[in-house]
């Protein structure tokens, strides 16, 4: 009761303060239309422009999940904590893998042993120096630790991890060309440090300061970073899940940078204040078809869908022309593996589509359902466009929006769906990550794609030790997916980033990460 009285009286005091302090503005409670003659209140003018000092505030649309690097699953969490954690090796914006906590890597002749020499004097954010023990602990936790949630299936090829004198040797059960890329996200953590959930501690250029759930997360430059230090002293991430809230935050000066915006949002911003940078999201957006479900178990029906859909029309209508059309499960920024010739394999051809449908026994088309996660507006908009495009060939589409939890369960885990729209990404820089899910026995093959030829080539590809040979095999896999119309491939979505003028250094990676260490304010 006391608390309530206190709160009520505080509220009253505030109202009085507001009304007296803000002069004539206080009385406008409804439908305000301020006339220019009115004096602008003197309250907090320093907050109107960007936050003073060498700081940046970044708006993000969803909250972080667990901050323990081995427990985080949300792409948005990995995107940001990329600045806090590092593995033995790390990716560059150009798509290379370079030494990080390790200073060099040596691979044995037979490809079964990797020896990582640790960099001298790499410090954790808690001030301690990284030792071989810490590295062994971190890798083991990811590989086969007691904590099941932390285990990374991709590290299954490891046989043993041993600490040497300032070095760590990892032995594999079989040679793997992609081992370095998969060890990249096995972040190096201080041994037996128990507070990763609440106060994460790594070796990256920025260190964790504080976090308020569903509100903000603050990072600070790590002064003892081994490499080139960050430019900004402090970076605040603000969670504003509402699209309008993000735009208002940019306009009010509360935010300096927001990534993954829609054109609806960017068009509201003033060009004098903001620059819109365009990168790509590095994902494969497609109408994913359940290949085990009628009528999509028939390759002719799947091909008919591909002939019916004009990718550019989807990009133009739902994305205002921003986006790169794709023809298979690979995107251009993985340039080594990307085969551009597959993009136009199916040109829109309604007659051909109808012919294929008739051959398959659906001369009058059929009814189908697209299940979309309703929290992803781009996917929902795409579905709306597809309804119209598929109507042209007599296919009657129902869009079924479901919430994220339901989508994960029904579509992704239980595979109880007919078709869905989503974007699939790779969180390490391997083609395998994008292609392994179409092997018929893969645990994450939610589209139930099953093709003997594909399985054979895939087995060869992952066993290949010669890089050129492996790349060739991966390209064959991509072609297989296109030819058999595994899914209706659409595009790699554009990543529109609003950046306050004066803030420079925004770099796009071939991964879903936001590198804040490169950001700085122009002098």
């Amino acid at each position: 009761m006391k608390k309530r009285i206190l709160a009520v009286s505080l509220a009253l005091v505030m109202i009085v303060m507001l009304f007296t302090g803000c002069g004539s503005n206080g009385t406008q409670t409804a439908a305000p239309s301020p006339s220019p003659e009115e004096e602008a209140p003197s309250a907090a003018p320093e907050k109107s422009e960007r936050a003073s000092g060498n700081e940046v505030s970044i708006g993000i649309a969803q909250d972080f999940d667990s901050l323990d690097p081995d427990h985080m699953t949300a792409a948005g969490t990995k995107e940001v904590l990329f600045n806090v954690f590092e593995g033995l090796v790390k990716p560059t914006a150009a798509g290379d893998i370079v030494p990080a906590v390790a200073s060099s890597v040596e691979k044995s002749e037979d490809g079964l042993q990797y020896t990582f020499t640790l960099r001298e004097g790499v410090k954790f954010h808690n001030g301690e120096t990284v030792t071989a023990d810490d590295v062994v602990y971190s890798i083991e936790r990811r590989w086969n630790g007691e904590d099941t949630a932390a285990q990374l299936p991709a590290l299954g090829v490891i046989e043993s991890v041993e600490a040497g004198d300032n070095s760590v040797t990892i032995t594999l059960t079989e040679p793997s060309n992609e081992f370095l890329a998969s060890i990249m996200t096995a972040y190096i953590l201080p041994k037996d440090y128990a507070d990763q959930e609440t106060s994460p501690c790594g070796t990256g250029p920025y260190k964790f300061v504080s976090r308020e759930v569903q509100d903000n997360l603050v990072l600070e430059r790590f002064a003892d970073y081994w490499g080139e230090p960050g430019h900004l002293d402090k970076v605040t991430f603000r969670i504003l899940e509402n699209a309008e809230g993000l735009v208002l935050g940019l306009q009010s000066g509360a935010l300096d940078l927001v990534a993954h915006m829609t054109t609806d949002q960017t068009m509201q911003l003033d060009e004098k204040e903001f620059t819109i940078a365009e990168g790509s999201m590095n994902l494969v957006q497609a109408l994913y078809l359940n290949n085990a479900e009628k009528p999509f178990d028939d390759v002719r029906v799947r091909q008919a869908l591909c002939y019916a859909v004009d990718k550019q029309a989807v990009i133009d209508l739902a994305f205002d022309g921003y986006g790169t059309p794709l023809g298979t499960s690979m995107f251009p920024s993985f340039s080594k593996y990307y085969d551009d010739s597959l993009t136009d394999y199916y040109q829109q051809d309604l007659a051909k589509a109808k012919e294929l449908l008739a051959e398959a026994g659906y001369p009058d088309g059929f009814d189908m359902t697209i299940t979309v996660p309703s929290n992803y507006t781009p996917h929902v908009n795409t579905a709306t466009v597809l309804v119209e495009l598929l109507r042209e060939v007599g296919i009657n589409v129902t869009v079924q929006p479901v919430d994220w939890g339901t989508w994960l369960q029904d579509v992704y885990t239980d595979r109880k769906f007919q078709s869905t729209i989503t974007g699939l990404t790779s969180d390490n820089m391997t083609a395998r990550k994008l292609l392994d899910r179409f092997a018929s026995t893969a645990h994450n093959n939610f589209t139930n794609y099953s093709n003997e030829e594909y399985d054979e080539i895939f087995a060869q590809a992952i066993a290949a030790t010669d890089d050129a040979e492996q790349v060739g095999l991966y390209k064959q896999l991509e072609k297989n997916l296109t030819e058999n119309a595994a899914n209706v491939y659409l595009q790699d979505m554009a990543d529109l980033v609003a950046v306050r003028n004066g803030l420079q250094g925004l770099t796009f990676y071939p991964l879903y990460v936001l590198d804040v260490s490169a950001l700085s304010w122009a002098a």
Partner: protein, 316 residues
């Protein structure tokens, strides 16, 4: 005393019932917290192990009673997505939401009651149609729209507060309060309009009753009859309505919290539902149920103070 016990009993039953229904609802909709926790890369074996660790493989009732047991011993559990004790996560949001709802409620009560009486006494004036239109407009305007409008007008043009930069009570109390104040106004506008309309129509119907005619025929002027008798009688329905409003406000804050970037319970609840973070959802739902019962009790008590007949009714 009997009344207090009765109310406490009601509170307890409501909370248990609500928590059970929430638990049941999650049982019926699809969605698996283990999948949300492990992400799309997890293997079936990993999912199974985690389900076992979390006790998700136990029968429904066992899980519910475990949760209930924990709740009564002060253990609200650990959030699935954040892996931290639920209470640590919820408590700061609770303070913010309480401030928002209470401030909004005070605005509603303080503005609408005098305005309702004023509106009655000026019925039929030359500008009465304008007032009606304005009232309708206020009633119809959705809080998210006023939220955007206010952020733009008071935040971006007049710079009274900075939308999207809620600092928290600890670091900047005044700025936080300004955010909350504008949020409270957005929430209050349609409800003030409703309360005014309601008070006015109740007063109108009361004024046509026989006791008013008697009072006036005995030489009292209309104004004193209005103030002394009619208002008191009209207040009963208004107080019940305000009680309901108070109960609604916590939940209704969600949209305003999102637009103005106020980190309150509503936003947290929505996010937790989509992550199937049961321990958090359960706690917030029980808090909301508690709040609703509390608001109802308060309205009841005030009505009993106004009208002694109600007190006798409750005793029998």
């Amino acid at each position: 005393m009997k009344y207090v016990l009765k109310r406490l009993g009601l509170l307890l039953v409501t909370m248990i019932l609500v928590s059970f229904l929430t638990f049941l609802a999650f049982q019926l909709v699809s969605g698996d917290p283990a999948v949300t926790m492990l992400g799309t890369d997890a293997t079936a074996a990993q999912l199974q192990t985690l389900r076992h660790e979390l006790g998700l493989d136990l029968p429904f009732l066992t899980r519910y009673f475990r949760w209930l047991g924990g709740f009564f011993t002060g253990n609200l559990g650990v959030s699935y997505s954040y892996r931290q004790p639920v209470w640590n996560l919820v408590s700061s949001k609770l303070t913010i939401s309480l401030c928002l709802s209470l401030m909004s409620f005070v605005l509603i009560a303080v503005i609408s009651i005098p305005a309702g009486i004023f509106s009655y006494s000026r019925t039929g004036g030359p500008l009465s149609w304008l007032r009606t239109v304005f009232n309708q407009l206020c009633m119809a305007v959705p809080p998210f729209f006023t939220g955007i409008l206010f952020s733009w007008c008071f935040g971006i043009l007049l710079k009274i507060f900075t939308p999207g930069d809620f600092p928290g009570f600890d670091s900047d109390f005044a700025e936080s309060m300004r955010h909350i104040f504008f949020g409270a106004v957005c929430l209050a506008i349609p409800r003030i309009a409703m309360t005014i309309r309601m008070l006015r129509s109740t007063v109108v119907s009361e004024m046509n009753k026989a006791y008013v005619r008697t009072a006036i025929s005995r030489g009292n002027d209309r104004r004193s009859v209005l103030m002394r008798h009619v208002l008191k009688n009209s207040m009963l329905s208004v107080v019940s309505f305000l009680g309901q409003t108070l109960a609604e406000l916590v939940g209704a804050g969600i949209v305003v919290e999102q637009v103005l970037g106020i980190p309150g319970l509503g936003r947290f609840l929505v996010a937790s539902i989509s992550h199937r973070d049961y321990p958090v959802v359960q706690t917030i739902v029980v808090i909301l149920a508690f709040w609703v019962v509390l608001a109802g009790t308060a309205a009841d008590l005030i009505n009993q103070a106004i009208d002694p007949r109600l007190r006798q009714g409750s005793r029998s």
